[in-house]
């Protein structure tokens, strides 16, 4: 194995290992960030100007709840 071979091996293996460890560490350490995510969603809603192709589960459930309340 030449010096160049060792260099490429260490850079390649080391680079991807560091990336992997950093990502997994961040995923595990930020696992309780749901409140921040909700806040972000409220601040920057997606406005694509179109209706959804099919009513989402949440929309359907809300509609259903409203219908049952009206009936009651």
């Amino acid at each position: 194995m030449t010096f160049g071979g060792w260099f490429i091996l260490i850079i390649s293996v080391g680079g991807f290992l560091i990336l992997f460890i950093a990502c997994i560490y961040k995923v595990l350490s930020l696992s309780g960030a749901s409140k921040r995510i909700e806040g972000f969603e409220k601040m920057t809603p997606i406005d694509n100007g179109t209706e959804p192709l099919e009513p989402s589960y949440a929309t359907r459930k809300n509609k259903q709840t409203r219908t049952s309340r009206t009936s009651a």
Binding site: T2, G4, F20, T50, L53
Partner: protein
């Protein structure tokens, strides 16, 4: 008066399945990506082109092709999931905003359905090899014995010859694999796939590290053969320059040079120079020693095709499985970091484990010359490695651990290929999960029966892999990324990806997504068609075997059975897709 129930919730809307935890979905996607290609295909590619040149092309492909595709699939999947779609046709329809999108999605869905059928057979090979190595049924002393076991096990000699129930045959292990796959997938997303991957992916890494330690501590197993050592094996893979001893053939003035031997390390090159000068055969016309540098390798289109293809298949992009998994996420779930984490887990397994285990171990026992260029996936894995483990101290145990690792990686990959079809059946036929699993099993078993019976020259597997596992994947991935970037639009895609994001995608990807990745994919696809269908020489009248198997005067029945089955499945998917309730704009 209508009767009003006020104390019971309405049962009409069934809550969609969801992932149980954030790390769960990352491990599930990583498990879907990590497969036998990480451990058997990657090292062969690195060795073929030299570590330096290959890794440059590989890293560039990761940045410009792999990562953008991962982020796009995660984004499209969650976007469609937020609108209630968990099927590939639903995801494609959401991207296009038009009804035709769901029919494009049916073609995409064909990929995991078909690939699952032959990949299950490969999964059974891994299990069979693990058990046979541990029990001592597989202990080849020569390359011929290893090849004979492979031929008997897979039935490569004649159609139907893999159907026995002995330990040295495919069938019993295939049945075990099918039972495991369907038992796990029937449990659902969180209780089945996620729980399995949370256990399987860390186990896979632990097993890999055990085998890696064994391999790296082998040193020079036979002191009388210093050319066969771990250091030589690592050099064979990772040295930036490749040096060959070549012999001239043909015309004296314009000879064609044929590689006779690869020379690894300064000692081997010096010894070759000395041998040539001593034998007085080196008159620069019949023999030469040629060094191929990084830039010369990088100028070869085949290198770029190999690197891009490796990234593409290794990250499991283009199969539609990432999008399907991501569709079970909500806008409260993060995806940018998740996508990067799962991609990096796959790369760590590929480069950190796959790049250091198989070929160095093979060279340590057989030498570079003994390897005889057997660096393709099947040759390396199922002919060379059993021989290597037989020669290794404690080889039966370490061989078992290695093939168990491959088997576990195959389980997580097959689960990811089953889920898109099951989600599609649930959505189109309105059946519950157990019913969808049963229908999926019936469809898959018909394909697996063809793969298991038509085993001569592995013709059925080869045909399905070529047309669905390569051609269709490249084609549909190009369609997907183009629709994602241009139909959904970068502005909307960018905003959607960053909802709840813990990290930001670098802004340069706003340019990479619409321009670089589609062009890169079109280039790779064109190159693949050029090299694999028309051949490297483009000689007139020379037709690739995959075409001649289907359209020559004597077509292959096995190839036609395989393609006929694919067409039947596609018809079924297109028919069922009509039932998908999607309102167009």
């Amino acid at each position: 008066m209508p009767r009003v129930k006020t104390n019971k919730p309405e049962p009409a809307v069934q809550a969609p399945e969801q992932w149980g935890s954030r790390i769960g979905v990352v491990l599930a996607v990583a498990g879907g990506a990590i497969g036998i290609g990480n451990f058997l295909r990657f090292p062969g590619q690195v060795a073929q082109f030299g570590g330096g040149a290959f890794m440059i092309a590989y890293v560039l492909s990761f940045i410009f092709l792999g990562l953008p595709m991962c982020w796009a699939e995660w984004t499209a999947g969650r976007y469609a999931g937020s609108k209630g779609h968990h099927t590939i046709p639903g995801i494609m329809a959401t991207l296009t905003g038009k009804n035709y999108g769901k029919y494009l999605g049916a073609f995409c869905l064909l990929i995991p359905v078909v690939v699952y059928c032959y990949f299950t057979a490969v999964q059974a090979w891994c299990l069979g090899y693990a058990v046979n190595l541990l029990t001592g049924n597989l202990a080849p002393q020569t390359a011929e014995e290893a090849s004979l076991f492979f031929a008997n096990f897979t039935g490569i000699k004649a159609h139907g010859s893999a159907l026995g129930l002995e330990m040295g045959k495919l069938l019993p292990f295939l049945l075990i694999c099918l039972v495991i796959n369907y038992l796990v997938i029937a449990q659902g997303i969180s209780r089945g796939i996620e729980r399995c991957c949370k256990w399987a992916v860390p186990t896979l890494f632990i097993l890999g590290i055990i085998v890696l330690i064994r391999v790296l501590t082998l040193g020079t197993p036979d002191a009388s053969k210093p050319e066969a050592s771990i250091s030589q094996g690592l050099g064979y893979m990772w040295n930036p320059q490749k040096t060959f001893l070549e012999q001239a053939k043909g015309d004296n003035e314009y000879p064609t040079w044929h590689k006779v031997e690869e020379l690894v390390g300064d000692d081997a090159v010096a010894a070759a120079h000395e041998r040539l000068s001593h034998d007085r055969v080196s008159d620069n016309r019949t023999w030469r020693i040629r060094t191929v540098g990084i830039w010369e390798q990088l100028a070869r289109p085949a290198l770029w095709l190999a690197a891009a293809g490796q990234i593409f298949f290794s990250l499991a992009v283009g199969f539609g499985v990432i999008g399907t998994y991501a569709s079970y996420l909500t806008h409260k779930d993060e995806i940018v970091l998740g996508a990067l984490a799962s991609a990096s887990a796959n790369e760590a397994a590929e480069v950190g484990l796959g790049g250091l285990i198989t070929l160095p171990a093979a060279v340590a026992f057989l030498g570079v010359a003994g390897l005889s260029g057997q660096t393709s996936l099947f040759s390396l894995g199922f002919n060379v490695l059993p021989l290597v483990f037989t020669k290794m101290p404690g080889g039966a145990f370490f061989g078992f651990i290695f093939f168990l690792l491959l088997f576990i990686s195959a389980i997580t990959a097959t689960l990811s290929m089953l889920q898109p079809g099951i989600a599609f059946l649930e959505a189109t036929l309105g059946v519950k999960r157990r019913g969808a699993v049963l229908i999926s099993a019936a469809v898959s078993l018909s394909g697996i029966a063809i793969v298991t019976f038509f085993t001569q020259d592995l013709k059925a597997i080869d045909t399905l892999d070529f047309w669905c596992g390569n051609f269709l994947i490249y084609l549909m991935s190009t369609v997907f990324i183009t629709l994602f970037a241009w139909r959904l639009g970068i502005k909307k895609a960018w905003a959607e990806a960053h909802i709840g994001a813990d990290i930001k995608i670098p802004k340069i990807f706003k340019w990479i997504w619409p321009y670089v990745t589609p062009l890169f994919l079109i280039g790779v696809f064109s190159l693949w068609v050029s090299l694999n269908i028309f051949g490297e020489t483009h000689a007139y009248g020379v037709v690739d075997t995959h075409l001649s198997d289907l359209f020559s005067s004597s077509p292959s029945p096995a190839a036609w059975w395989a393609i006929g089955w694919v067409i039947c499945v596609l018809m079924g998917l297109l028919y069922a897709t009509q039932r998908l309730r999607i309102e167009a704009d």
